[in-house]
């Protein structure tokens, strides 16, 4: 029908090109993409040019060359003939070990301080406030420097170390069970003996059984609707089975590792260097102040009505906390907590300032000795990025699990 009152859609070709939002967006995206590609290739081209001018062509071959340096501590064995790659792996392991433990302990300490902050005891409350305010308002670098220099280095030297359990063996060796000095802490520890492999196999079996239990419990939860302890029971099962297998195995899977006093240092046992410990404790002190504030905000954000309602239902103090306060607080706390955890992993890079060979410190050393700045930086960025993405992935999974499903 050709009267003017057509109720069908207007013909698309009537819209001029420059007014069509859809086409405009495509054009804009195209221009944007071209711009980005041009800029990136320009920058990259410049970098390659500058490097080739001084005779260095980017390549990753230097990773296989000897590093020629020793580093002060490492979980895997390194010496001056280790390749650069091995050195980087060692730095990475150092970083991970500290971040992982620092995250756990700073959460615990943060919780304690948050509780202090919420306490009705005036002195404890104010002490917590002073602590939080001081720590939050100075840079981490400064805190680490002060903590290391003014505190750790002032601990007694190795000759006046605080020692427990000193015994003199027949061979003239002096053994001890614990020592504290400004070089670090040494304590008697267990380490895998030669018969560790059967135990490892048993642990693997226990792990599989625990996973099976977890799957079974999840199945049951889906079926019956009752919440099951999906994590706790399998974990306990794993621990229990491992302990039983350890006791039942004929040869001891672990053996004692006792520190021995040497001419200059204490060798053997579990040795935690002062640098590791000061970075660790500095990170914990710093992060716990922020975590305490996050906890406090979460807990105080819960309306008073909830607590009153719980009381009127007859729930005890502990039950209120466990069933009413914590689930609601968790929702609010987890996202900022995630960013704090990410911050911990990145803050370990400050170990370079106090002599701890974390990933970044080793990067600096390798750049210095080999001159390969571009390649090392790309590598290091990739590693840190992977670490961050992994952490936020795990935390986001947990976050979506605990979200209160609202209608």
């Amino acid at each position: 029908m050709e009267d003017g009152m057509s109720l069908t859609r207007p013909n698309k070709t009537n819209i001029p090109l420059w007014q069509d939002t859809h086409k405009r967006q495509i054009l804009a995206q195209f221009i944007f993409a071209v711009l980005v590609i041009v800029i990136v290739s320009l920058l990259y081209g410049n970098i390659i040019d500058s490097l080739s001018e001084i005779g260095m062509i980017p390549s990753f071959r230097f990773l296989r060359m000897d590093s020629n340096i020793d580093i002060s501590e490492s979980i895997i064995s390194v010496d001056n003939t280790s390749s650069n790659l091995r050195l980087i792996v060692s730095g990475f392991l150092n970083t991970i070990s500290i971040s992982f433990l620092a995250i756990i302990f700073s959460t615990i300490l943060g919780l304690i301080i948050a509780l202090c902050r919420l306490s009705t005891n005036y002195l404890i409350n104010k002490l917590a406030v002073i602590y939080i305010e001081i720590i939050r308002n100075i840079p981490l670098l400064l805190l680490l420097l002060i903590w290391y220099r003014a505190f750790f280095l002032k601990l007694p030297g190795i000759k006046e170390a605080i020692i427990f359990g000193k015994t003199l063996q027949e061979g003239g060796q002096t053994q001890l069970s614990f020592s504290l000095s400004n070089r670090g802490i040494s304590m008697a520890w267990l380490r895998p003996s030669d018969h560790f492999t059967p135990f490892l196999v048993c642990m693997a079996i226990a792990f599989v059984v625990a996973i099976a239990l977890g799957i079974f419990l999840k199945h049951r939860e889906n079926h019956t609707g009752k919440e099951q302890r999906i994590i706790l029971f399998p974990f306990l099962l794993f621990i229990g089975l491992s302990l039983i297998s350890y006791a039942l195995l004929p040869n001891a899977a672990l053996q004692k590792d006792i520190p021995v006093l040497g001419k200059f240092n204490i060798s053997g046992g579990l040795h935690i260097t002062a640098e590791w410990f000061s970075l660790f404790s500095g990170l914990i002190l710093y992060t716990s102040a922020f975590i305490a504030e996050i906890f406090r905000a979460g807990i105080q954000g819960i309306p008073k009505g909830q607590i009153e309602a719980a009381r009127s239902l007859g729930l005890s103090h502990m039950k209120t906390i466990r069933l009413v306060i914590i689930p609601q607080a968790k929702v609010v706390i987890i996202p900022p907590l995630t960013s704090q955890y990410l911050g911990v992993a990145k803050n370990t890079s400050l170990g370079v300032a106090i002599g701890f060979p974390d990933l970044f410190a080793i990067t600096g050393t390798i750049i210095n000795q080999s001159g390969r700045a571009l390649e090392m930086i790309i590598l290091v960025m990739a590693i840190y990025l992977t670490l961050s993405l992994l952490t936020s992935l795990i935390m986001n999974l947990y976050n979506s699990r605990i979200q209160i499903k609202e209608r």
């Binding site: 040019d49 500058s50 001018e53 001084i54 005779g55 260095m56 020629n68 340096i69 020793d70 580093i71 002060s72 010496d79 001056n80 003939t81 220099r149 280095l153 002032k154 030297g157 190795i158 000759k159 400004n182 070089r183 040497g262 001419k263 200059f264 240092n265 060798s267 002062a274 640098e275 370079v352 300032a353 106090i354 002599g355 060979p357 410190a361 600096g364 050393t365 750049i367 210095n368 000795q369 001159g371 700045a373």
Partner: protein, 366 residues
């Protein structure tokens, strides 16, 4: 109206911001002629780039950009009023006198040991006078050139006295501190590995932290260059409790570093050093240089001080460049005594002219 005023304000502030911290005026910049030349040369043959000589850049800019250390007692450090002073700073001043006639045409860039070579490679600084040990890999792989050493150093250990450490082997199992990113680090690792001595290394970023660690007995020994060892020992009130081991692990000749392929500039740095050595060899000091200038009969001394052959002009400098250096800054011995000998009690060791038993030998000036 309001919109226009706002727009004007925003534009003005953006303009001011750009003017204030525009990177262009900050740092070494090639002149207009030299920008044209590489552009023309670069277009048809991108591989071969014609580089502007550093000397030309420096002269056009009007000052030399020197990479230094801001926290090396005796060699280069900051005074309360913010000015730099020290042994290496005086060498830079000599360079400035050579090129410009006055010792103040300098701009100092404090660099950590990590960035010192990269800063030189990338063109941020013209010359590096920052306790850089000359070795083959730096000379070849890193794209740098070195002058003759201006300081012969060696690596050794500083330990506490009277606990029975006299040789390196006594350090088995000890904790040893070393500065990161330096040849001391690699030398220590290499020599300990070769002698199969087990030890526990601890690396630090700067001397101050190392000193704290050593004083507090965090480490049993510190591995530093002999010159730093003396400075180190000078800082302790009870210096009698510490000593340096006699052994020298490695040769640590410190030289001035410039970029590869920069011959004219390197010549100037090189012969500035030789002028300083020459003054030391022939006892020409800032006090008596005028007298020597008027009374000398040696043709070489005349060449040096500007009355004989026109050596300065061959390098693009004024002819009395060496005279001005010795007059305004002093000869090598004076510089050494002023910064290291008297305040830090560093002995000259090998850092003496050859005719006094040391290793400095100024090549002939003719």
């Amino acid at each position: 109206m309001k919109k226009r005023v706002t727009l004007a304000f925003v534009l003005i502030s953006v303009l001011v911001l750009c003017l204030s911290c525009g990177g262009k005026q900050e740092s070494p910049e090639p002149t207009t002629t030299s920008v044209a030349a590489p552009a023309v040369a670069a277009a048809p043959a991108p591989v071969v780039k014609e580089k502007t000589s550093t000397l030309q850049q420096v002269k056009d800019r009007g000052y030399i950009v020197v990479g230094v250390n801001a926290s090396n007692p005796g060699f280069a450090y900051l005074q309360e009023d913010g000015s730099y002073t020290g042994f290496e700073i005086d060498l830079a001043k000599a360079l400035s006198v050579a090129v410009f006639g006055t010792p103040d045409k300098l701009e100092f860039r404090p660099l950590t040991s990590k960035e010192r070579f990269i800063a030189l490679q990338s063109g941020e600084i013209d010359v590096l006078i920052r306790t850089a040990t000359i070795n083959s890999s730096r000379d070849t792989e890193l794209g740098l050139d070195f002058t003759t050493p201006y300081f012969y150093d060696g690596q050794t250990f500083v330990v506490r006295d009277n606990i029975g450490i006299n040789t390196m082997e006594d350090l088995e199992g000890a904790s040893i501190a070393v500065l990161t990113g330096s040849t001391t680090e690699t030398n220590l690792a290499a020599i300990m590995a070769s002698k199969q001595i087990e030890y526990r290394p601890l690396t630090f970023e700067n001397l101050d932290e190392m000193k704290s660690a050593f004083i507090n007995d965090r480490v049993d020994a510190v591995s530093v260059d002999k010159s730093s060892a003396v400075v180190f020992l000078a800082q302790f009130e009870d210096a009698g409790d510490f000593k340096g081991l006699e052994e020298t692990i490695s040769k640590e000749p410190l030289g001035i570093a410039v970029r590869h392929g920069d011959s004219a500039w390197k010549d100037i740095c090189q012969w500035t050093l030789f002028a300083l050595f020459y003054g030391d060899e022939h006892a020409i000091t800032s006090a008596n240089v005028d007298e020597v200038l008027s009374t000398t009969t040696s043709p070489e001394t005349k060449n040096v001080l500007g009355k004989g052959k026109e050596i300065g002009a061959m390098m693009g400098l004024s002819n009395d460049w060496a005279y001005q250096i010795i007059k305004q800054v002093g000869n090598y011995g004076e510089i050494f005594d002023r910064n290291l000998g008297i305040p830090m009690k560093v002995t000259r060791g090998y850092n003496k002219p050859w005719n006094q038993g040391g290793l400095f030998y100024a090549n002939p000036f003719n």
